[in-house]
Amino acid sequence: MVSASAVRVRGLWKRFGQQVAVGGIDLELPAGKFIGLVGPNGAGKTTTLSMVTGLLRPDQGSVEVVGHDVWRDPVEVKARIGVLPEGLRLFERLSGRELLGYTGRLRGLPGEEVDKRATQLLDVLDLAGAQHKLVVDYSTGMRKKIGLAAALLHNPEVLFLDEPFEGVDPVSAQTIRGVLERYTASGATVVFSSHVMELVESLCDWVAVMAAGRIRATGTLAEVRGEAASLQEAFLELVGAGVRDAGSDLDWLGGGSR
């Protein structure tokens, strides 16, 4: 059932006015892996993920998820993917539990099944105590967790997460991490974007590096890291932001004369 690649992107372009957000990327993401899409702010990660998940129409190019074209075959694709976008709201005037009930039923799951899964997800994600509070009153970490629960509810084959750890406290981050690790261990694919290299290095087994709307490197963590000591260093080299010698510019800073 699971094809060799979870996501296949061909010649994907997106311009906003004069600015090229995504400049013709080709990408093949293997199935069953924990995949990190890394890049500095403004690299085009969110735009790419939005186009891959069908939330943004590309100017050009094709996207296939688990062998189905996102734009020609939305029925097959939407049932198989889960999404946690960045910068888009949830239905925040619902309580956490109501939000899950709503999402699951819209996805066509039977009511009792939705309620059962919601209870378990709320439990595992440590949200049981806040399940009857409105999402609008949730903290950032709680929002990410309830968003993740909503994305997982229909047991998707591929999960797309845009900056799932941004602004999340360490405890919630650990909870999210645990759930995601368990999910990929069962053979599912997680694609998540981040600009925190340590996180990607510790979580992912496959990495795609993006900068200025293009893919700079792809492969297993070891392949992308290459000779460098850490992913951080390899990344800085790839995007052309090597460590500048700042010594002479700020020589007055710290110690010595005031």
Partner: protein, 550 residues
């Protein structure tokens, strides 16, 4: 605005050192702080300055006009009732202002001063004095001055008038402050911001009521006010105005009692305020105490939702209906529609100027709620978009939203029509009016569904704007184009109504319009949904982009 040359935001107690500042030394500091805040607020942007200056000019103009008006009314019968009630209305305004416009005055939030070593007594004095600086107090003072001129006759009355005006002003300001202090938690919370969104609605509906009230007064004279005023003149701060009137009539005992009542109210309010201030300054604020203010909302899966159909239809209906109640923007829009849809036909009927056909106003106002359906979702529309993969999904989604609306609008439009008919006692026309209402409602739902798909726009969640900047044209096309379209779609039913009314032999056939209108409206709705569904399914990313600008 007078602007003394002082450094901005001075630190309390100019002298450095540990001693706790006394009242005398911090009062001028607070006044200067208030002036600095006003001035710095103006400095922020040209638009804000223009808005402030414009409102200042309007308020001053209004204050001058009512001052002149009150002076002109001097000596007229019933003017005493008028000024007493004006004072009461003004006090009511002061009481609700901080709840609806919490952002207006930063000094309203005393928790900002919590780090400073201040005692409640001096703090209350300083805050009260600084509260007297601003447009609001100036306007209030103008009005009380006008009241004195309008009702006072003789030296004693003027003396009582001056004391009364000052007391009344202090009561108004203290009332506003005490209520603000008692509700600071609310004002700085999400619920407070929700409440602020609803304030526009109170103003809109209040204006309608005042309009009709003024019309009634215009037709039957100020004498109608007397019985109410006789009670209100004993309620502070209107009692201060009552005292001026009593002193003019020579009833000095009554005047003194009313003044004393006002003073007692002021004392009481000051005490309440000081107590709340002390509690606020000595307990941790909401940001350190998490989860204590928000009550847990228990909503079982049972309840009325059980009666909704299963699947996407029931799920979407439930969510839509929950949002009508819980989302402040949606709620404000609904209550406005419900209120104006009722007020216009019913009040016109009450005044005897109405017609049964005015009842269609309710259907028209409520039908507007179908417009910009996805804009009402805000960028959370992505959650819907992720589950729509076919035209069928889009059709069921739109149909569910229309059904949720019908659950409220159908009985309501019927009720308003029946009520209007009853008031006009024109029962023969009831089927016609109902038929027209249903046809119009159907047409509004149809055009609403179609424009939701074709011309979606963002509704900003904060503030009073209902359209995101840059999308005003889109909103106009959507709403007005849609309404004109709806009117045109109703033309056949309107034509039939006119024909039945003018042709001699068809006068008894008016009842035909009820089934015709209902079926026609239903058919229009279905057609509109059918046409809107493929557009929605094809344009999901475009709709999401359009509604995500808020």
């Amino acid at each position: 605005m007078s602007a003394p040359t002082t450094p901005a935001a001075p630190v309390p107690s100019g002298s450095s050192g540990p001693p706790v500042p006394s009242g005398a030394s911090i009062t001028p500091v607070f006044v200067r702080l208030k002036l600095s805040l006003l001035r710095n607020g103006l400095r922020q942007s040209g638009g804000r300055r223009a808005a402030y200056l414009a409102s200042l000019v309007v308020v001053l103009l209004f204050a001058a006009l009512q001052l002149i008006g009150l002076i002109a009314l001097r000596g007229y019968a019933h003017v005493d009732s008028l000024v007493v009630l004006l004072a009461a209305v003004l006090a009511l305004g002061w009481a609700v202002m901080p709840l609806f416009f919490p952002g207006g005055d930063e000094t309203l939030d005393p928790t900002r001063l919590v780090m400073l070593p201040l005692r409640p007594g001096p703090l209350v004095r300083a805050l009260l004095t600084s509260s007297l600086v601003g447009i609001g107090p100036l306007f209030t003072l103008c009005m009380f001055a006008g009241s004195v001129v309008a009702v006072a006759h003789g030296g004693a009355a003027y003396a009582v008038g001056v004391v009364g005006a000052v007391l009344a002003l202090l009561v108004c300001v203290t009332l506003a402050r005490a209520i603000a202090a008692a509700n600071v938690r609310l004002l700085t919370s999400r619920k407070g911001r929700d409440l602020a969104v609803l304030s526009g609605l109170v103003v809109a509906v209040g204006a309608q009521l005042v309009n009709f009230g003024a019309q009634r007064l215009g037709s039957s004279g100020l004498g109608e006010l007397d019985p109410v005023a006789d009670v209100v003149r004993w309620v502070p701060p209107a009692s201060a105005v009552g005292a001026m009137d009593a002193a003019s009539d020579g009833s000095y005992g009554v005047a003194l009692a009313q003044l004393a009542l006002t003073a007692a109210a002021l004392g009481l309010l000051l005490r309440v305020w000081a107590r709340h201030l002390t509690r606020l300054m000595t307990t941790p604020d909401g940001s350190t105490l998490q989860n204590d203010t928000e009550a847990v909302r228990e909503r079982g899966p049972a309840g009325a939702a059980r009666w909704l159909p299963a699947g996407r239809t029931g799920t979407t209906m439930e969510r839509t209906l929950r949002y009508v109640w819980r989302d402040p923007k949606t709620k404000a829009a609904w209550v406005t529609s419900l209120a104006i849809g009722l007020i216009v036909p019913v009040f016109n009927a009450w005044q005897g100027t109405g017609s049964v056909y005015f009842a269609c106003f309710a259907a028209g106002m409520l039908g507007i709620q179908m417009y910009n359906q996805f804009g009402q979702d805000t960028s959370a529309f992505w959650m819907v978009a992720m589950t729509i993969s076919s035209t069928r999904d889009a059709y069921v989604e739109l149909r569910a939203r229309a059904l949720a609306l019908l659950l409220i609008t159908l009985p309501y439009a019927t009720l308003v029509t029946v009520l209007t008919t009853a008031m006009l006692d024109d029962w023969r026309k009831l089927p016609e009016a109902l038929g027209l209402s249903f046809a119009l409602l159907g047409a509004m739902l149809a055009t609403g569904a179609w424009t939701s798909a074709r011309f979606p726009y963002s509704i900003p969640q904060e503030g009073y704007k209902n359209v995101a900047p840059g999308q005003v044209g889109l909103a106009w096309v959507s709403i007005f184009g849609g309404m004109i379209g709806a009117a045109l779609l109703c033309a056949p039913v309107i034509a039939l109504t006119i024909w039945l009314n003018v042709s001699a032999g068809a006068a008894d056939l008016g009842w035909v319009l009820l089934p015709v209108g209902a079926v026609y409206g239903a058919a229009l709705t279905l057609l509109g949904l059918r046409l809107a569904a493929p557009r929605t399914a094809d344009r999901l990313p475009e709709i999401l982009t359009a509604v995500s600008k808020g």
